[in-house]
Symmetry: C2
Subunit: 136 residues, 2 copies
Amino acid sequence: MLIARSTDYAVRALKYLAEKNQETSAAELTRELKIPWPFMRKIMQSLGKHGLVASRKGPGGGFLLAKAPEKIKLTGLVNIFQGPVCLNECIFKKKICPNRKTCYLSKKLGEIEEHAFLVLDRITLKEIIEGGHNHG
Amino acid sequence: MLIARSTDYAVRALKYLAEKNQETSAAELTRELKIPWPFMRKIMQSLGKHGLVASRKGPGGGFLLAKAPEKIKLTGLVNIFQGPVCLNECIFKKKICPNRKTCYLSKKLGEIEEHAFLVLDRITLKEIIEGGHNHG
DNA sequence: ACAAAATGATACTATCATGGTATCATATGT
DNA sequence: ACATATGATACCATGATAGTATCATTTTGT
């Protein structure tokens, strides 16, 4: 799959934060977005580590968007939760296929991967919010 | 991943059959392509069921390509071993996201999926063999 | 006829990525 | 101090894919 569940949840959480634009607890995110609590927490922690959200502990604490929505790219999120966009190389590893460079199939799959990357890389949180997004 | 191992193995086997153009046993395919014997057998059986190869039992028996290489599409193989090319719909199922039709993200992922499908659908065994294929 | 060599069918096991859970430590506001 | 929040981290569950094993059936050569 191109977008894993964790990435998807992250998008929803970030969208919620962007629209609310106030410090929001993981509990509220869980409640509103119907995402399992401990999983939500894990996701928010990842987002925090990567500087996408700021967090504050203690009562009344929670998360705030730490970057402008137009600066949050989908490829960035995919990278955090799934690693680099990869539709090709992973399977044709060393021993199995040493001829990747000259392989026709590999070239074609590379084309697809590149296209996928370019599309995803142009999508930002802003677009997702404004672009008729109806996500969840 | 776009192309699973089983699909990849199938491509190699079909390529071998096409180039040899003689009845070939699973044992020989296994030996030449370094694919695990029971797995190879399973793959060949699938190819047989779907009419891509003809088989003959008994000593000296084996497999023969049953369709012209230019009529064997990569999308066909993907379908057999992985099901329909799907980069999108699977994850956004019913309960999780009921708004697929109007969802911006879903639209974009659909674009990617369509492009991937079109590229794969234009690849035939013939192209793979002739197109500087160096696969394995 | 018979044995050996091949595939057909099918059920099983193993591995790994992903999704999801649980626990304890740490910080903060009242 | 205590309740409430996040930080860190280790663990478990599930499912898809890869791979194995077994037995039945067909065909060929002697």
